[in-house]
Symmetry: C2
Subunit: 97 residues, 2 copies
């Protein structure tokens, strides 16, 4: 069982994840990214899919042509957990590489 | 420029695409599919991505763990066109294989 972040932990995490927005209704974080085209967007998704599968923690996400929207939350925890923060950090690392 | 399907063409297409729902607001078709797990769902998405890129016609789609929702419409045509029908038919063929 994964625990939901406390308010203080969440504030700290959101501070570090400056490219992510907080979705209060879902207790989730959301990042929207635009790429040059569909192939780039889907290539990114494939990298995230592999990360997610390895971490056994999966995003809720959508793609329209060159745009990808990723929402992270932990169903088992009823909201944000350290698993979301770790996956978000790994996604950021792909995007900054 | 791709032309929007006429009402009769759309009716015929929807009749053939029995696993797709018609979204009247978007003049789009939608199919929702569930797989055994995330890896299967994303494997399917990778196949569709390649089809879509080859056809230069891309879905609006989302994925949550083992579920994939695909919406097809043709922005240039302002609604459903033969390109959506062709991509939907190719997606159905993957799912029936």
């Amino acid at each position: 069982m994964v625990e939901q972040l406390s308010e203080a932990e969440r504030a700290e995490a959101l501070d570090a994840l400056s490219d992510w927005d907080y979705d209060e209704g879902r207790d989730a974080i959301v990042r929207r990214v635009a790429f040059g085209d569909f192939a780039e967007a889907f290539g990114f998704m494939a990298r995230v899919a592999i990360l997610a599968e390895k971490a056994d923690h999966h995003p809720e996400w959508s793609n329209v042509y060159n745009r990808v929207e990723i929402l992270l939350t932990t169903h088992d925890a009823g909201g944000l957990s350290h698993r979301d923060v770790e996956l978000a950090t790994a996604i950021d690392a792909i995007l900054e590489a």
